[in-house]
């Protein structure tokens, strides 16, 4: 594992999401010439037992420190954790020894007609005692399997689950839920600023940035272990802005980041861009911008 970049850039830790389109360019560059301290991979893309993805993973680990980002465990699901997926996730973590390991505060599946249907999405959960107990238990099982603490990412959500089921009303705010979750499960937070902005915009807050910062300022410094930055497409679905990571980091997100990084200095920051992918050079520019902001706020 190459750590020279970290020793040469000690004041900020900036990563980018590594997607298939960029593999060649990302691996062709000399690490010392690239202002990237780590790359994030989606765990499920590397679950294959063999083949080119395993070889690629090995190459990536030679070039960069790694962040493994899970998207399929559905930690807030009422159903038991999927043991095979958990084993694959744990094996990946153990074999790559990543700098960061994260998952989402969501559910993704349910039993219908004796079959488990999988949405393949990150779906919102109720912020109540039952959800808290279930999610804590699931996170603890994952942490036991991987032998380390998880970072849990806050979600963008397009509905309030209590409107679907009056028996699942929220009994606390998302922030309160996350704080209690981290305390009970021994995990920390992946603070996704874009998700907070998307939620604030969809909830029609008069001042979305103020709404996001109100949330951010309630978080203790020691609980935030990573920050995600992203943008979103202008095209709406059913009147909602969709968190599609399909554009450069939004202006609102940069504005919020300037304030947030002051609260959590030196926390690793990741640029996410998953659809409508730009050239690798554009991602590097975004990473440079994040680094400049992080250093200016010190």
């Amino acid at each position: 594992m190459n750590t020279s970049s970290l020793s040469s850039k000690p004041d900020a830790c900036i990563g980018v999401g590594l997607r298939h389109l960029h593999y060649d360019e990302a691996l062709a560059h000399n690490q010392s010439q690239t202002p990237i301290d780590f790359v994030e991979i989606h765990a499920e893309n590397f679950f294959a037992k063999g083949g080119i993805t395993q070889a690629l993973l090995s190459d990536v680990c030679e070039h960069y420190q790694l962040s493994v980002h899970g998207t399929s465990l559905g930690l807030g699901s009422n159903l038991p954790l999927p043991q095979q997926t958990l084993s694959q996730f744990a094996e990946l973590v153990k074999s790559t020894q990543p700098k960061l390991v994260s998952e989402h505060l969501c559910f993704n599946r349910a039993m219908i007609d004796d079959k488990i249907y999988h949405s393949g999405d990150l779906l919102p959960i109720a912020f109540n005692e039952a959800s808290l107990a279930q999610t804590v238990s699931n996170i603890q099982q994952v942490q036991e399997a991987i032998g380390r603490a998880l970072l849990i990412e806050n979600l963008s959500a397009y509905l309030d689950v209590s409107e679907m089921d009056p028996y699942s009303r929220d009994s606390m705010t998302e922030t309160e839920f996350l704080l209690r979750l981290c305390d009970a499960a021994g995990c920390t937070m992946l603070l996704d600023l874009n998700n907070l902005i998307v939620n604030a915009l969809n909830q029609k807050h008069a001042d979305p940035i103020e709404a996001v910062m109100r949330h951010v300022k309630q978080l203790p410094q020691h609980l935030v272990g990573e920050i995600h930055l992203a943008g979103f497409s202008e095209q709406k679905v059913a009147g909602f802005i969709v968190d599609d990571h399909g554009q450069a980091v939004s202006q609102q997100c940069w504005e919020v980041y300037k304030q947030t990084i002051k609260c959590f200095p030196s926390v690793p920051t990741l640029i996410e861009w998953d659809t409508n992918l730009p050239p690798w050079a554009t991602l590097v520019e975004q990473a440079n911008k994040a680094r400049d902001i992080a250093l200016q706020q010190k």
Binding site: A48, G51, I52, Y117, V161, S162, S168
Partner: protein
Amino acid sequence: MSYQTRIIQEIFDAESSRHSLPGMKVYHNNFIENGIRALSITFSSVFALMDEGDFRALARAYLLAEPKTHFDWADYGESFSDFIMTHPNLSEVPYLSEVAELDWLLQGIQRAEDKTFDGESFGLLNERDPNELVFETAPGFALARFVFPVDKLYQLAHEPQLQVEGETRSIFMGDLNKSMRDAINSEQARSIVVWRPDYKAEMLNVSDDVKEVFQHLHNQDSIANIFAAFAEQPEQLSPWLTEQISQKRLYGVRSTH
């Protein structure tokens, strides 16, 4: 019914009028778009050979007909080939179902567990009873049968020089059209060996005279069966074996006892 069950049910419901909240439209749309993207990757040849709008319509219909019951999108689509075969709008492109079958096969091979070539193990051929030995084949090795020239259709979908009009494409299309006519007229399945020598899956058309040998390999039959298949032309065995090793279709020999 819990909210989790209800949300999942509504995501899989094609009728947006039954979505209880506007936000459900986003999740339903996410499911469809993610699914179309996943299917276009898994079935990359089908995607390349179809008009994009037609592929999207086909994928959408499949997503609503075949619930996703796997965690990984890469595991979704096993019945896509059958779905295409029975789709009323695709009766004029009967080869698409077989192309989908090939795509699914290749995707499995690309993800198959790695193996290590064991050259020394071939020494067992001189030491042990061949009835007690089997060949260790390459990752994903299989013998598949297709009526249509799916190997050529795969080339048409993926080879860069065939994506532009010109002499190369013109000659190729002439050859492909002849193969397609032959396939429709004879309706006799041809055999194709698929395997992964390193990172990329390969295909080989197999003539009827050696099909039996590859069938034994596919079945993991004993090496004695393979030797027997060369009984009438024993001089062909050694070159055949050399070719299988050099092409990395065989990774070694192992004892079954």
